[in-house]
Each structure stands twice: as C-alpha cells, then as structure tokens.
C-alpha cells in the first residue's frame, strides 16, 4: 500500500502531503526533510526509486514539482510510477495544463482529486473519465450551495438593512 504521498517543489517547498499510515507530526516533518533532501539532489539520469527506512519511495519530477509516493518493499515500483502519472494526468485535465501555481492556489482541490484517485493507500479509480466526472459533480454541488448561500445572505443582508 501507499504510506504517504508528498509533493514538493524544486526548492523543497511542500505543496501537498497525504498520510495514509499513522505518522506523528514529528515523523512527518522528519520524513519530508529527509526525502526532499535525498531526492532533490538526484540527477535526471538516475532511477526514480529511493530506499527509505525499509520502504521504497518512488518519485517523479514534473516540471518544477516532485511527486513522491512511499510504498512497501514488496510493491511494484512501476505500478506506482503509473499511479503518479495517472494522478498528474487527471490534474492536468482538470486544471488545463496544470502548473505549480494551480496547486498552490487550489491546494484543497488537489486534495479532493487525490481522494478520488486513492483511498486507504490504494488506487480506487483507474478511469480518468470517472474521476473527472465525480469531481465535476462535486464542484457543481459546491457551487450550488454557495449560490444558495449568496442569495440567502443577500436576502438577510437586505432584510437587516
């Protein structure tokens, strides 16, 4: 299973963290520091796997972002790379040519999308289309709720004025 997902920039700034196994805040900070320190200096011609505390970390760089996933030693590294790619493609489709800024300003959306791709550290949906559909449906629900509120608050505001 996937123990955690990490996204950080080339400068080592954290962009997303998702922990599927229990890690205390201290361990989380330490893991992020160790991994970004270990992965960032690696050149482009090296393999995408790093051994880390008996587990394996699979990472892939997309533009200025590093996507890392930590998996068990008996898991399939290539499959994990494909999961990363799968996620990136979905992000790309959702944001339309995704870039780091998209994830910075919509960090919660990156999480929502990740939650549709993975659950409990396992891949839950291998179809990009279904993920896109589900996300779109939820977005429209959010929008509807907001609209409703906006109109309500308008009403209230008008009423109190």
């Amino acid at each position: 299973m996937i123990h955690f997902v990490l996204l950080f920039s080339r400068q080592g700034k954290v962009r997303l963290t998702k922990w599927y196994s229990p890690y205390s805040q201290k361990e989380r900070t330490k893991a992020i520091r160790e991994l970004s320190g270990g992965i960032l200096p690696r050149g482009p011609k090296l393999c995408n796997f790093v051994d880390w505390r008996g587990l394996k970390v699979v990472y892939k760089r997309y533009a200025s972002l590093y996507f890392c996933m930590c998996i068990d030693s008996e898991d399939n590294e290539l499959e994990c790379l494909e999961i990363i790619h799968h996620y990136v493609q979905i992000l790309d489709r959702y944001f339309g040519n995704v870039c780091e800024l998209d994830l910075i300003f919509n960090f919660h959306k990156a999480y929502f999308i990740l939650d549709e791709v993975l659950i409990a550290g396992e891949l839950q949906e291998s179809s990009k289309k279904s993920v896109a559909r589900v996300i779109a449906a939820q977005d429209s629900m959010v929008d509807a709720a907001k609209e409703q509120m906006a109109s309500l608050s308008n009403i209230i505001a008008q009423a109190t004025r």
Binding site: L16, P22, F49, D72, L78, S126
Partner: protein, 976 residues
Amino acid sequence: MGSSVMESFFQRSLDDLVKGLRVQVIGEARYVAKALEETRKEIKSTDLHTKAVAVQKLTYLHMLQGLDISWAAFHVVEVMSSSKFCFKKIGYLAASQSFHEGTEVLLLITNLLRKDLGSKNEYEAGLALDCLSRIATPDLARDLTPEVFTMLTSSRLYVRKKATLVLLKVFSKYPDAIRIAFKRLVEKLEDSDTQVVGAAVTVLCELAISDPKPYLPLAPEFYRLLANSSNNWLSIKLVKIFGVLCPVEPRLARKIAEPICEQMRKTGAKSLVFECIRTVTLGLSEHAGAVELAVEKLKEFMAEEDPNLRYLGLQSLSPLMSSHPWALTENKLLIVRCLKDADPSIQVESLRLITGMVSEDNVIETVEILLQYARSSEPVFCNELISAILSTCSKGIYDLITDFTWYVQVLGAIARLPNCEHEAEVERQLVDIGLRVKSVRGDLLKVCRELLMDPALLDHAHLHKALSAAAWVVGEFAEVAHDPFQLIEALLQPRTKLLPASVHAVYLQSVLKIFVFSTHTWVRGFVSTGDQGGTAVVEEEFEKNSREGVKDQEENLSGSAGISSPVFHDLNPNSEERIDNRQHKKPMVEDKEGTCAESNVHLATRISSRLILEMMELIRVNVSPLLNSVEMEVQERASNLLGLLKKVQEILGVRNDKLHEPMDIHTMEQHSSTAANVLAGIQSIFSVEPGPVSLLAQSKVTVPKGLDLVSSLDELGHPSYVDDDPGTEKDWEDGRFFLKKSRDGSISGETSSLLALHREKHVTFYLPNQAYFGDSNDLSQPLQEDAPMLSDRLADSLMLAEPKPQGSKPPQAKARPVVIRLEDEQEPFDHPSKSRKGLKVDILSTTIREVLMENKTKSWATSNRRDARASTSKHHRRSHRSAKSKKHERNEHGDVVQALDETIMSRDAIEDDVNSPQIGKAEKRSDASSRRHSKHSKNHAQLTRENREGMRYSRQRARSPLNIQPEVAIIPDFLL
C-alpha cells in the same frame, strides 16, 4: 491594505493568504504567525462561512509548516457537521489531514460519521469513508463496521467501491470486522463493475501479502479473474497475489505458470511484465520455462535506456542467485557494465549480484574488475566495492582464495586506495592471513615491506591501521625477511613520528624483534655453523646466564643516563614469563628452530658483522630521541629497545664512539660466543608463534576448582573496603576519600592493601591460585603445578600443530595452501536471511484465518445448502456417508485426497485456538446473507461436492447445529 475596521468586515480568503505568503517581506515565520493569530479569531466566528474559510486556511498552514492545529479540532468538527456540502468538504479535509489517534474530539464524531455514511448523497458518504480510512481508531472501526458493511451492497458504484477499499483499514484496526464483512468482500470479486472487483482484489492482495495461507481456497477465483482480465491494474494485483500464494502451495505454481507466461508475452505494459517476473522469481522458480522467459525479459530490462528498468532488472535477478546461477552468469556482461552506471543504486545492485556470483574459479578475475572500478569510483561506492571484496574473499576462512600471494597483494592495493575506509578490516586480514597461512608469509612480508617503505603513506591517517598490521607482520615473521636492515630502516624513518602512539609502539616493538632476530642469526653463523647441537648447548647455558644477565642489565643500565630504572622493573616480570614460556613450549621452540635453521643459516651468510654494527648504530641514533616522547607507550618501548641494545653492545664490546673501526668488528666477532647465549635466550622469547584464536576457545578451558562463574558480578559491588562505614562509598565517589585519609596520614598503607582486602571479601571472584598474589619475591618461582597444565591445555586448544615445511616462497603447486582452521570456528560473516515484513499484527491474520475457515465452508461447497434445512441427526448420517465415500475416493484420486487430509489436519490445529462463542455469533449475523449467496456458488459445489466432508466439522456442528453448513474447503481439482 485595509484598516482594522475593514478587517473585521472582510476576512482574508485562502487566496489572499497564499498570495500574501508569496510576496511577504517580513519573513515567512512571522507572516505565518500573524496569519495564525488572525485565523484564531476568525475561527471563533458564529458565521459558518467565516469559520470554514478559517479552517481551510489552517489546513493550508498545517500542510505547509506542519503546525499543530489540534486546538482547532472542535471547530473542525463544527464545520464537518454543517449541512452545506461546500463546508462539509472543507471540514472533512481538515479532519483527515490533522486528526490522529490522540485527538480527543474523535470520540464526538462517531455519530457524525455514522450519519454521513448513511447519507443519501453519495458524495457525502464518500467524504465520510475517506475520512474514516484516514482517522479510524479501533473504537471508530468497531462502531462503524455495520455501516461500512451495509455500504458494500450499495446500489451506487461510487460508494460500493470506496467502502470495499476502506475495509482494509477497518480490518487492520478492528480485526473482528472480518467475521462480519469478509464474505461480502469475497462476493465483491464477482461484482458487475470492474472497479469494485479491482478494489476487492486489492484488499485481498494486501491481506494475502501479510499471511498468504488462508487465501489459497480463493485461488480458482483469482485464476478466473486473471484469465478474463483486460485491466492491467487488476492483472498486476492478481499476479502479485499468485506471487505470494505459490510459495505456499507448489501445486498451484504448476497450474499458474502458463497463464503468467502468457501475460508476460502478450502485454506491453512494463509494470505488468515486472510483476510477472517478480512472481516467477519468488514463486515459480521451479518452472524452467517460466524462469527462462523471465530472465529473457530481465535481460531486456537491463539493456534498456531507462535507469528504472535497469535497476529493477538487477534487483529481480538477486532471488535467482542461489536457485538459478546460470541466469546471472548469462548476463554477467550486462551486470558488470552497470558497475559504472551513473546511478549509485544501480551500482550497488550490480555489485550485490557480482559478489553473489563469485566462486573459486572466478574470484581473481572478479576481484580484479572490482578493484579496477574502485580506483575510479566515487568515495562512497569505492568503499562499497572494497567492503564487498574484503567480505567476499574472507568469507568462511578465506574459502574462496587459492592463491594467497595474489590476495595479499590485493590487500596491499586496497590499503593504498586513497578513499579506503575499511583499514581496520585490512589490518585484521593481514595479521590473520599471516597467522593462518604459513606458506604465504614470504609474500605477505614483501607486501608489508612495500607499505612500510613508502614515506608518503605515513601522511594518510586512514592507512595507519594497515601500517600497524604491516609493522607487526614484518616483526613477527622476520625470519622470512631478506633484508632486515632495510626493514629496520623503514620502521625507523623520521616520518614515523606522524603515527599515533599505539601504532608507533608497534613499530618499535617490531624493530626490537627484527634486531634480536638478525643479531641472533648472525651470532649463530659464528657459533654453530653446521653444528646442530649448538642450540641445545645454548639453551642449557641460557638458563644459568639469563638471570645473571638480567641482573647485569639492571646494574649496568640503571646507572646509565636517560634510562630510568622503572623500565627494568618492567622488564623483569617479562623475562620470568619468557623463561616459563620456554619451559612449557620447549617442544615447539625446538621444532621451529629446527625447521628454520636452514634458512637462517642461509640468511646468516648475508648478514655481515658490519651490517649488525650499522644496525645497532641506526637504532641507537633513531630511537634515543624517543625516550623523551610524551607518549608513555612509545617511551617505554624505546627504553626497552635501547636497554637491550646497550646490553648487547656491551657483551659484544662495541662502543658507540668508535664506529666502523675494523677492530670493533673484530672484537664483536670475538665476543660473539658469549653473546650467543643471551641472544638465543631473547630470540626464544619471540619465537613462540602466536596462533589464531577461536571465539569459542574459552569454552574449552575447564573451569578451575573454586572459581564461581554463576554468581552475579553485581555482588562484587564497589571496591569499598570498609563496608560498615556508610559514608565510604559516597566519599569514594566524591574523591573526598583520599583527602580524608591523607589527613589521617594512613593512606599509603591502606591503598596498598585495598586489593588484598577486596580479595578477602569477594574471594569467589578471584582465581584460587596463590602464585598470582604472592609477594613480589615469589614471582621468580615457576607457577604452581596446575598452572602450566592449564596453559598447555590452552595452547593445545588454540593452536593446531601442523608440521609443515616452511619456505620463503609459497609452493607453486595448484593446491590451495593450508589455512589454519580451528575446528569450532564458524563463518564470521553471517548473512541473515531476508524475512518478509509482517504487514499487520498477528491478531489480524489469526482472525482472518478463523473467518476464512467459516467462510470457506459457505462460499466453497455451498451445495450443501439444500441439506441445510435438514435435521441434526441427518447431518450425522451424512457425515458418516461422506466419510465412507472419502475412503472410496482415496483410491481414485489418492493424491488429491491426501492433500485434502493435510488441509484438514492443519485446519484442525488452527481451529483448536478458536474461541467458539465468537464463531457462533458471527455465524448468526452472516447467516442470512450466506443463504442468499448459496445460489451462485452452485457451480463450485458441483466440483467440490465429493471432497467436502471433514470430521472437524461434525464437531463444530454439534456446537451450533442450525447455522453451520460445514464442509472442507478445498482447492478444486482443476487447479491442482
């Protein structure tokens, strides 16, 4: 920026926060602190919108900086419980990011989660499931299991899929949930939607990895899925499951080999191919065809441009190392090429494979290659290479090495590598080989000489240990040296002052040994050329002379300037020991003298009197300054050396001021016979050969009478001598003890008797031998009767007397030289077998086993459902019948039935552990659904009907007669 009035009206949105963070000029930490302060206020707002935005901002800061936001947990729960989906989502995100087992509000959200899990809105249910999968505690998992269980059969695909995967988390937190939900999980394997099937397979795969055995009965189902799978994600999981099942059930491997090969051939997805390869290497290594195909694919991997594939290719080869060595040798070129890969992980993998391939035939070739790479590699990998060479070659007792001449040269080369960090191991092996392999000593000496001769090497701190070993070797095995003078010159070169004291001391000791050896050889050249009886005479006389000699030494040298008398106090006990040694080891000494007499005489002709004279002068000039060394060890060795030198010079009549005078040489030669006695005696001290010591040697020594090895040493306590005085111990620790006593003026007497007092008090911890503790006059007497016997025994057990012709050159023959191996010696390099990491706690797998046993009874041979309504008595009849039919069957499919019996037996064993009331409960709960399930498993029943009865189940039936339809679950014939 807005004024303070405006701020209260307009909250900063998440976008504002992020933007502000990016352009802040006051420093990130301060900015975050400010933002945090702001949100603290906002989060208390009664307006849900304001609260939600505050929570969202907190989540962001939490992610960014790892801030602790547990203080906001209650507000998060408030946002979670909002009926508005947009807020709920924000709340759930914050919860799943920041809540953990210790969060107190977890107790409050059970009902909230329950409500949302049952929500009509599938996305709300999805949020709750997501959150549960992140924050589940045993309590939450227990309380919410019924909800998750219900969701498994939801008509909405989205919910069904998520619920299935969340089971994994629920099971790990609350193993009892398996009793309830496992059957439904298995049903999901036949779900109409492939995503749900995938989810179920994923969960089963994770469970099977931690404990494969219970899932064997599901093999046919997996087999069917694999055959029909068109989804690579699913295929990977299925292949992985077979990878863990096959080692448990070899017959399954036979069945599955072909389909796996089929997958490998037809798929283009590297990840699937890789999974197949892994399954073949782990579980199908018996199937030549499959292995060949896998190796073929691995070869493709290793030849790829993609470093990932190269790395994985190498990694997957290692399981084949022992079972299919040909797979490695076939690809040796590819593997060796990876040694110079840009990627360190690939280098390390290929090195691991290469060391795994090393055999007696290719060790030289391989090590040469590794050494060559070591010279040109980065420091880190260079040391990996060195450590690989050292550990491979010394494996066992240098089992792989036949040509030690070559190997000691390799050691020399390794020591010289500028990045070498394994000097301690080089040191150990140089000495070890010197002790164990007699025939290689000549070459070993050459290698060591080269190391010692090079002044440049003294600069490098990392070489000091190797140099120390080299110095020891040349001193110890001086008899095979060709040029003792050069050795001494090398050992005394000025740059030796750069050495640490411990190493420098070894250098000086070696000088002493070489000096004694050469002068002795020279003297023998005069005294007993061709006279074999000479040694005996010398030894006889020695005993008489040595004591006088020692006294002489004392008289002469205590007066001489620069040498303090304590040195000789130090020497005295040594000489006693030497005498003893000589007495006890007499046979050995003679043996050694005899064997090397020839080479010594040969050498003696080359040691001229002038050379000896020069040697003495060289030592005197170079060692004298060391008498002022600040390092005590160096100073002491130097005084020993000089003291001995002066004594020898005196006997020989050499005076330092009249160097090189021919007359001097003449007197020297005249006095040589006198010196012979002394020198022979000293030489004999050094001629006792040390041998390798087994770590278990001590166990061979019989425990002396009266020595108590059982009592705890703790009783020994502090070395306080007056236990009645409560203040003593503290005084001792504080150091006040001495002050107090010195005031009394009685300290000197007290301290000298401390040891005696201590011994009196704790006599059990001391050896009973009086000789150790007698007063100093007794020291000159030989040890008591039993002591020599003990040391003889020790010597016997430590050394393997191997009469061997000793030559300065190793024999040219192909045969491996004799390597001393102690009988009880074990391989020092232990390679622990890699153990699979247990994924979950034991309790989980036990529960699964229990449940599967029940489950199997239902899902596998459910044709019995028809009989389920029958009465208990009927059951008994049936069990009789089937027992009979089983007997009959044994003749037809003996093999299958036998396996079946084994299964029953092992299951019986497990069953005994099972808590029976629990089973009954679980049965009741799932009974309804199993009935529903009965229809579709009829096909299986067709296959398994004949094989299904087991005695165990009749017993179980008696416990809960109505619910249970017990059958033996088996792997249907078509798979076996």
